[in-house]
Symmetry: C2
Subunit: 218 residues, 2 copies
């Protein structure tokens, strides 16, 4: 069995591996977990003893097969609970993260499978991220920044990088919300601003905005 702290380390290392590459640095983990590098060294050594990751001094860590499984399972729990919170308890998709952070650590052999069934085996969470199945299998869904789309492309809004109050209000005014279809009408080369269409309305948005919105292309 793994403690709450151990589970959080595994999950964080998993996420960092996705983004960066294979070896994850001590400092990267420390930053994500808002802790000190020395604490990370301690924990990483302990997790190496437990065979869930391999660790080479001064070089970094990678999850083992077993560590990967555990991390994916935590992510599965996190995302299913998020679906529950949004669909059943009517939270909005940007409120659920911290509650799901707690729920993902509930220990039970059967709970999460029953929850999954209750929710009707959803494939993605409220942020558009895929939900691993019981065996940890899932398709990587193309989630990219709106700024990466070319003229003419359409994407479904699935989330945002930062979710500051002001930014949310900005989006709200333009009825840009999760699940909204966004079409790139035109794109300016000199400042990377773009014109987009959402629900039949057209606006100009700056590079900064376009770099804060995630979309999926189908």
């Amino acid at each position: 069995m793994f403690t709450l702290a151990e589970e959080n380390y595994l999950k964080t290392i998993y996420h960092l591996q996705q983004n960066v590459g294979v070896e994850v640095s001590t400092n990267a983990i420390a930053e994500k977990l808002e802790t000190k590098a020395s604490s990370v060294t301690d924990m990483v050594q302990k997790l190496a003893d437990k065979q869930v990751l391999s660790y080479v001094k001064y070089k970094g860590t990678t999850l083992t097969e077993k560590g990967n499984e555990i991390a994916v399972n935590i992510i599965r729990k996190h995302r299913l609970w998020e679906v529950f919170l949004v669909e059943k308890l009517h939270y909005s998709w940007d409120e659920v993260h911290e509650i799901a952070e707690q729920l993902e650590h509930i220990k039970s052999e059967s709970l999460i499978d029953r929850l999954e069934e209750f929710l009707g085996f959803p494939k993605v969470d409220p942020h558009g991220d895929p939900i691993p199945d019981q065996n940890g299998q899932f398709k990587k869904v193309e989630k990219q920044l709106l700024s990466q789309l070319a003229k003419g492309q359409k994407g479904i809004c699935v989330g945002m990088k930062e979710s500051e109050r002001n930014f949310l209000r900005y989006l709200d005014k333009r009825s840009i919300a999760i699940e909204a279809e966004i079409t790139v009408i035109s794109k300016e080369d000199f400042d990377d601003s773009m014109q987009i269409e959402v629900n039949g309305n057209r606006f100009f948005i700056s590079k900064k905005i376009a770099e804060n919105l995630y979309v999926k292309i189908f």
Copy 2:
């Protein structure tokens, strides 16, 4: 904010106060929590500092108003989660306790109220115990041992003291289950055994059995 351990102490002390009287002894707490008396002393002193209970050396502890509130709130969470597990995820009423023990510690301002609404504001949990409302108010429901009923009285089965495998099987054979109506047909003075009727069937049950079944009288 209170830690998981602190919350468990408060809950336990609350339950012990109900059963016994006002002052709760160190040993009683230790036994319920399956820990050592010395550990209890430490924790109880800490909780006294935090104003949630009053503690007099060698005499025992009682919850303060504030401590009581916190305990009732944890119990509210526990019971609502149990309803969720039984009604939505189709667990049986004797499987849910350990999962609810974990879920009751999830921290969120709004979560439990939303869950309560989702469940349709249930009044009792799957064991027949009342669910406190948002203000911690609830009616004490008459839950008593079947052995305490007199000839002719009817009760609804709401739970059992011990829930050993063998005992459960014994009950199952006689179709004694949660929500079953039990009528005391006769009672023997010399050994406290009784004849009961359940679903139209009559059996004799021993004192031991009658002391393990909880019923509510309406």
